[in-house]
């Protein structure tokens, strides 16, 4: 049946592209998660009325986050070419896509982290302070565990966005399903290849959504 519906699909290439997409997505999700939490914590803690209240640090961080969040991803990749070349050594291939993916997604996620942290009951933080907890303890044992469901649902949304970004990155030479759909599908007018790449991307998105939803539900004891 696959022969009939997808006559032009080279399954070996399709599998290779899928692995590349999964690789780009998972590495960038992991680094975005860590970087986003650090940035989000900085935004939260330096904001008004919080433990490290600091107008200057908050202002500068907020501007950087907003700028990088606002640049359209396809333009960000182009802007980052010199940076990518310096860091990765090349501008072609999966690894070359990572800096742009992370720099595009981390500020986006940082804002979600900040919102998640704001949702924490102020009284709980006060209780921890009253017990003699240091700021480090409050971060590790109160802020992160108490906001974990929101942090996980936020990274789920970000991960899905990142799958989309990898496809865009693919068009300008990063490999993966986007690259395959563009070069093999669009440019050679093989619609079945584009269709198959789309189906695989959809399956990846559904799986990410399912994992994210399940984890959020398990973590939320409220």
């Amino acid at each position: 049946m696959t022969e009939q519906w997808f006559p032009n699909v080279d399954w070996e290439k399709m599998w290779e592209a899928t692995v590349q997409t999964l690789y780009m997505t998972s590495i960038s999700v992991i680094i975005t998660f860590i970087l986003g939490i650090l940035l989000g914590l900085l935004l939260f803690l330096t904001s008004k009325g919080q433990l490290w209240e600091n107008k200057a640090v908050y202002g500068v961080t907020a501007i950087i986050v907003n700028v990088f969040r606002s640049i359209p991803f396809i333009i960000l990749i182009v802007l980052l070419i010199p940076f990518t070349k310096a860091v990765v050594g090349t501008i072609i291939g999966e690894n070359a896509a990572l800096p742009a993916l992370i720099i595009g997604a981390a500020p986006f996620y940082a804002r979600m982290v900040e919102i998640a942290l704001r949702e924490i009951d102020k009284g709980v933080i006060e209780a921890a302070r009253a017990m003699g907890a240091s700021t480090g303890t409050i971060i590790r044992k109160v802020l992160l565990p108490e906001s974990m469901p929101a942090l996980v649902s936020g990274i789920t949304v970000t991960a899905i966005a990142l799958v989309g970004y990898t496809a865009m990155a693919g068009v300008i030479g990063a490999g993966g399903l986007g690259n395959l759909a563009y070069l093999d599908g669009f440019q050679r007018s093989r619609n079945d290849v584009t269709m198959m790449a789309t189906i695989i991307i959809l399956i990846i998105v559904f799986i990410i959504q399912f994992i994210g939803d399940t984890a959020t539900r398990k973590l939320d004891k409220r």
Partner: protein, 341 residues
């Protein structure tokens, strides 16, 4: 145990500086249950937060268990806070942790080993009467049970002082009483000093030894609970005392009776401590030729003894009624006639 001298707190707001509390001088003895009552905005929250350094006084000093809480900072302050437990109106438990996890939290902060933590948590669960609920999450508990977890958590590091911030204000009357009983039990068993703030006179009456009444950032009245109940001086204190002694309808009832019986006198008797248990009314009827009609009365128990008021309507020959009133004055009951005759 606690000494506050000349404490003052000014908050800088957009609309200029606001004085939250001022001229606070206060000392609380070891083992005492000390209550602070006031309406919201009276400054009692600010004051109780000064006791564990969550607020720093703008002027003056605060000493708790020998440490100048208002002066120390950083690690030293965190260490001092481990000796001061605190419970809250909205419990402030971590929903992500079980009952055991919540109680273990302050022990983790204090660096207690896993083995000792488990042992201590078991003791505390038993102390607050939560046997069998150790592995529940806060969302599975009732309000009263949540506050029990809060109390266990506050006691984990064997504090010298327990601060209660409106600890029963979010609970129904029955649960409030059971939590108050638990606090008295802990006070007696562990000799723990307790400072609580509330807007309910019922809480003060039930468990406090001494009370401070706060209004507009100042302590306007302070003394043993029974004395304050007997002779409230400030209008605000009188209002609070009325919360527990006079139901709203009593004034109407008296008005109604006055209209129905224009002759005779209505007397308010106040019984304090020992006199509350004496048969004053029996004596009154035996010695004088008057008819006594009891209009309304209430006796409440406080930590230092019983306290009660009784409204009676005396009728009969005028001279006999006057003699009866004189008799009541001579007894250990305070009588007040003026307002109602």
């Amino acid at each position: 145990m606690i000494l506050i001298e000349q404490a003052k707190k000014i908050f800088q707001t957009k609309n200029g500086p606001v004085t939250a509390v001022s001229d606070i001088n206060l000392s609380v003895q070891e083992g005492e249950i000390f209550g602070m009552i006031g309406y919201s905005g009276a400054g009692k929250s600010t004051l109780i937060r000064m006791l564990n350094g969550l607020e720093t006084p703008t002027e003056g000093s605060v000493t708790v268990a020998g440490r100048a809480v208002s002066k120390i900072k950083g690690g030293e302050l965190r260490k001092a806070r481990q000796e001061i437990g605190m419970i809250f109106q909205h419990f402030n438990l971590l929903w992500s942790r079980t009952v055991r996890g919540n109680i273990a939290f302050p022990l983790e902060i204090a660096g207690v080993s896993k083995e000792e933590r488990d042992k201590r948590v078991n003791e505390l669960i038993e102390l607050v009467g939560l046997d069998g609920r150790g592995d529940s999450y806060p969302s599975q508990l009732s309000g009263g049970q949540k506050q029990r977890v809060g109390i266990a958590r506050a006691l984990a590091n064997n504090p010298k002082v327990l601060l209660c911030d409106e600890a029963t204000s979010a609970l129904d009357p029955q649960t409030t009483d059971s939590i108050l009983e638990l606090l008295v039990d802990i006070n007696q068993r562990l000799g723990l000093t307790i400072v609580l703030i509330t807007h309910e006179m019922h809480v003060i009456r039930k468990i406090c030894h001494r009370v401070a009444v706060m209004e507009a950032g100042k302590i306007v009245e302070l003394g043993p609970v029974l004395d304050v109940f007997r002779r409230p001086e400030q209008p605000i204190t009188k209002r609070f005392v009325q919360q527990v002694t006079e139901p709203d309808e009593s004034k109407e009832t008296i008005q109604h009776l006055l209209e129905a019986h224009p002759n005779g006198k209505i007397v308010k008797l106040t019984f304090v401590g020992v006199s509350a248990e004496q048969p004053v009314i029996t004596e009154l009827i035996r010695q004088f030729d008057v008819a006594v009609n009891i209009l309304q009365g209430k006796i409440s128990q406080t930590q230092n003894g019983a306290y009660g008021t009784l409204y009676v309507h005396l009728t009969g020959d005028t001279s006999e009624v006057n003699k009866a009133v004189a008799f009541l004055d001579a007894q250990q009951v305070d009588s007040e006639v003026g307002a109602y005759d």
